[in-house]
């Protein structure tokens, strides 16, 4: 118990020492690195910055025209201008809605997954309007109504009972892992089984409904189903399992000492969770966003704020969390703040787990990033389907793309082995189509008059940078004595199959 109180104090009143007051999170991280004798990497160059920020915000590499314009731009504020431009784009809401959906709903699990496309629409709309994040979470947790009408209700509907809803909501919104305490006191955190079930009591009245009387079109799978609903019952309690006498547990907020008896339990929980005073909400959200953008969180894994775990650079995390609260839980402002930092904009090095954030960590593209980037590199018209998972860093299509219009849910969602992904990168039909049917190659050959310029343009279109002289010469040599068009197809194929292409560098 003492551990927990100490933690609440540490988390609750973020402060820090006298001298560190007023320092930005960048300065705090740099001060720590200096103490450890680690020299941080310099800032990345403009080409790396543009590619990174495009993949992170829009989920796709920039066009070659965009790269050239950015490299030639002499404005000293061009990085922050680019960040603002991308944050305002439609691709941002779409890409982040997918990231957020997978974080909240996870992998498909059969019938319980109905309504994924509704939820994606809800998230996309919230992100496009920059709905404040505390409000989003309140809408999700207190949701009532038919799923086709109140799309935020899909989240709780997915979980079959109060126990699953509890461990999901606490993990997703507070970054706390309570699951182990469902069956026994937590083995290495201080959570008790009572803590778990007193939280579950807030979900005791959530009721999943299904009505065959009314038929609606389910957009994820495209078939008609009975209407799904989530309502709040008048009554309903949870029992502490394995207690001698069935013991009804009243709800109690995690970490507090007294029970509560609100009228609408889920609303009360949502208000408590999203309050500026909640010890975890702001930090857990900051940590997750940071993890998405930097490759790892201050707390890692990002949803494991255990009572026995200390974040790296705790003061930097506190600082960002304070700012997030002050902004009124403005997600876009938080993302903008991180992207404009020196820490985000450092040159990349292979990951160094001892001194995280001394350099940028290279990350593999997700499926969404990879597919859309292949299409953009080849200037091939392609729309990424709504249901496909973001979770798995893919580096390659899940399957033959030709089939995926007929049956893409089954065809593409599944995970494959890395060798299979390699094979699909080599010979999968999206890659083939992007090269053979995309407009990139014919346009490049038509508009650029020398082989040097053509090769440079293909580098800009695929790797978002200009080639070095050595790189260019390898391809010039390859062209020598070959039929021109097929040789250029081979060059674009090689660039798409290079390690660098599948990496957010």
């Amino acid at each position: 118990m003492t551990i927990r109180i100490a933690l609440l104090l540490a988390l609750g009143t973020a402060g820090g020492t006298q001298e560190s007051k007023g320092q930005s999170f960048d300065e705090r991280i740099e001060a720590e690195l200096k103490k450890a004798g680690v020299r941080p990497a310099p800032l990345c160059d403009d080409a790396d910055f543009l590619r990174r920020v495009s993949l992170d915000l829009a989920g796709v590499i920039p066009t070659p025209e965009e790269v050239v314009a950015f490299l030639d731009d002499r404005n000293s504020q061009k990085r922050s201008k680019k960040i603002d431009q991308l944050l305002a784009g439609a691709e941002f809401a779409d890409h982040w809605a997918r990231i957020w959906m997978v974080f909240l709903i996870g992998t498909p699990l059969g019938d319980a997954d109905l309504g994924r496309a509704w939820f994606l629409e809800y998230l996309r709309d919230s992100l496009a309007r920059n709905q404040r994040y505390d409000r989003v979470v309140r809408e999700i947790l207190a949701a009532e109504g038919n799923l086709d009408e109140n799309k935020a209700a899909v989240y709780l509907y997915r979980w079959q009972d109060a126990a699953d809803q509890t461990s999901a909501a606490v993990r997703h919104f507070l970054g706390v892992q309570l699951r182990c305490a469902q069956c026994h006191d937590h083995p290495f955190d201080s959570w008790t089984q009572r803590d778990f079930w007193a939280t579950a009591a807030f979900f005791a009245r959530a009721t999943r409904g299904y009505s065959e009387e009314e038929i609606v079109m389910e957009p994820t799978y495209g078939f008609e189903i009975g209407r799904l609903s989530l309502t709040e019952a008048e009554e309903g309690e949870v029992d502490l399992p394995e207690s001698r006498h069935a013991m009804k547990l009243p709800p109690r907020f995690l970490g507090e000492k007294t029970d509560t008896n609100p009228k609408h339990r889920r609303k009360a929980l949502a208000d408590w969770m999203t309050s500026p005073k909640n010890p975890w909400f702001a930090k857990a959200t900051v940590n997750r966003i940071w993890g998405i953008l930097l490759g790892r969180g201050f707390v890692h894994p990002v949803d494991d704020f255990g009572t026995s775990k200390t974040p790296v650079y705790p003061e930097a995390l506190n600082r960002l969390a304070e700012e997030f609260v002050r902004s009124g839980f403005d997600l876009r402002a938080l993302i903008r703040r991180v992207l404009n930092s020196r820490t985000y904009q450092r040159a990349s090095r292979p990951a160094d787990s001892k001194h995280p954030f001394a350099a940028a960590e290279r990350r593999r593209m997700s499926r969404h990033q990879y597919f859309t980037s292949v299409a953009r590199a080849g200037d091939f018209d392609f729309t990424f389907p709504v249901e496909i998972e973001e979770r798995d860093p893919a580096m390659g299509p899940a399957t033959e793309m030709k089939d995926f219009k007929e049956d893409y849910l089954y065809q593409i969602q599944r995970a494959n082995s890395p060798v299979e992904k390699t094979l699909l990168r080599m010979n999968g039909s999206l890659v083939i189509d992007a090269i053979v049917s995309g407009k990139r190659l014919p346009k490049t050959l038509e508009t650029c008059d020398t082989n040097e310029k053509r090769i440079e343009w293909l580098f800009l279109a695929s790797l978002s940078r200009r080639p070095t002289v050595g790189e260019r010469d390898v391809f010039l040599d390859y062209l020598d004595g070959k039929e021109e068009y097929p040789a250029y197809e081979d060059i674009l194929w090689t660039l798409l199959n290079s390690t660098e292409f599948g990496v957010n560098r």
């Binding site: 997954d113 849910l409 995970a415 082995s417 060798v419 299979e420 290079s498 560098r505």
Partner: protein, 423 residues
């Protein structure tokens, strides 16, 4: 677990022998913890949709819910549905569990439970048995993928769970065909394909490995593996035209030609022979909410030909004893026949079948009640089936894996092998 060596054996081997056993890795069996591996590979016949137990392995001719099929007596003595005559002939090699029970009656959740031995939980991704076999039994430098899934047509979203994607299945869509990614694309000549690969290799070696240190090395090893898959025994194993027509036919043929399920079984045999450790085949269509009897009759015939031919073929080639075969769906179907002539999901009791890999054949484990509605005795769960498979493969069911949060997850969820099935 039974112990390989009697106490007398132990005395006989003496201390020198004991030392030798220690070094040969057999100490576990001396203390009765583990048994020497019997199953070197597993073929998992996944009957997706949930087969009716009453209309397959557990006939109830006297029950009002018994349906329209008649039972036939098998060579082993137990009765099965009349539409599985070939299985009846090899029944002495096959054992049935008629007392399976599961609380998961949603397809996705049930499939997860069957494939991993764990009920789905928020926050943990358990590995399927195939990934466990792959990780524990395969060599990294193998020329074939350790875990292959044929014609899945479904997705649980699960690759290898917490074991990591390297142990995910290699997926084949169409049995009997070499997938286009292993072959050279139509639009390319072999020569151009080689040119491309050489160009990529040169580019990566000269530039990629400096720019992308670490990632490029991984990519290189994946390319080398991909090349081995494209040129090596995998591609040969997948090419069923190398088999006699009579063999292909034995695995099942109907008006539409060779059945996909049968050709998947034949492919599985060839894959196991080429070194694959786990092959999962999905036989779809068992979700017979309507028109149960027409559909199940056809499904039984497909399963009958494929499963029986697989048992026979492996036996003839002397590898049945080292190849475990599991035939199972995610749940059974109701005794009650609904207004559409269908049967609905039923988890309280259902049947699965096992053969080979050290399984004692011809047995029936457990029983359902006279209506096929509840377990009558010896309830068995999926984790016990997992524990049995693990034990036969020489794996310790208590072995712990770790989640990203360093939470330990046992290979098998608190279950013991089904002793009477282990020969």
């Amino acid at each position: 677990m039974t112990c390989d060596c009697s106490r007398r054996d132990l005395l006989k081997v003496g201390s020198g022998g004991l030392l030798a056993m220690l070094f040969s890795g057999k100490l576990g069996s001396v203390f009765g913890q583990e048994q020497a591996a019997r199953a070197k590979a597993c073929i998992f016949l996944f009957m997706y949709g949930g087969p009716s137990h009453i209309d397959t392995w557990d006939p109830k001719p006297k029950s009002p819910c018994g349906g329209t099929f008649r039972p036939i007596r098998t060579k082993a003595g137990y009765e099965i549905c009349e539409h599985m005559p070939e299985i009846a002939k090899v029944s002495t090699k096959i054992s049935i569990i008629r007392s399976m029970t599961s609380k998961e009656v949603d397809h996705g959740r049930g499939a997860y439970y069957l494939r991993t031995g764990y009920r789905p939980q928020e926050s943990v991704e358990h590995p399927p048995l195939g990934s466990i076999f792959a990780k524990e039994l395969a060599r990294d430098d193998a020329d074939v993928p350790p875990f292959v899934t044929i014609s899945p047509g479904f997705d649980t979203g699960l690759g290898a769970g917490l074991l990591g994607e390297v142990w995910s299945p290699f997926i084949l869509d169409t049995p009997g065909e070499v997938p286009s990614t292993l072959a050279c694309p139509d639009i390319l000549s072999e020569e151009r394909q080689s040119d491309r690969l050489r160009l990529l290799e040169e580019y990566e070696k000269r530039f990629g490995e400096q720019r992308m240190e670490g990632e490029a090395a991984l990519a290189r090893s994946l390319h080398q593996k991909a090349a081995r898959y494209r040129k090596g025994p995998l591609r040969r194993a997948l090419d069923l035209s190398r088999e006699e027509d009579s063999v292909r036919e034995a695995y099942g043929k109907n008006d539409g030609g060779y059945t996909p399920f049968g050709q998947s079984c034949l492919t599985a045999r060839r894959l196991v022979e080429s070194g694959v450790k786990f092959v999962e085949i999905t036989h779809q269509g068992w979700d017979t909410h309507e028109n149960n009897f027409d559909l199940t009759r056809d499904l039984c015939r497909e399963t009958d030909a494929g499963f029986a031919a697989l048992v026979r073929d492996l036996d003839r080639r002397g590898v049945l004893d080292s190849t475990l075969i599991v035939w199972a769906g995610e749940f059974g179907r109701t005794p009650n026949i609904n207004a559409q002539g269908g049967r609905d999901h039923h988890g309280d009791v259902f049947s699965i079948a096992l053969a080979g890999g050290g399984i004692r054949g011809g047995l029936v484990v457990g029983a359902s009640d006279p209506d096929g509605s509840q377990v009558q005795h010896r309830a068995v769960t999926f984790p016990e089936v997992m524990a049995t498979a693990a034990a036969l493969a020489g794996l310790n069911p208590e072995k712990e894996y770790s989640t990203p949060e360093e939470r330990p997850i046992k290979l098998v969820d608190d279950a013991r092998p089904i002793r009477e099935l282990i020969s």
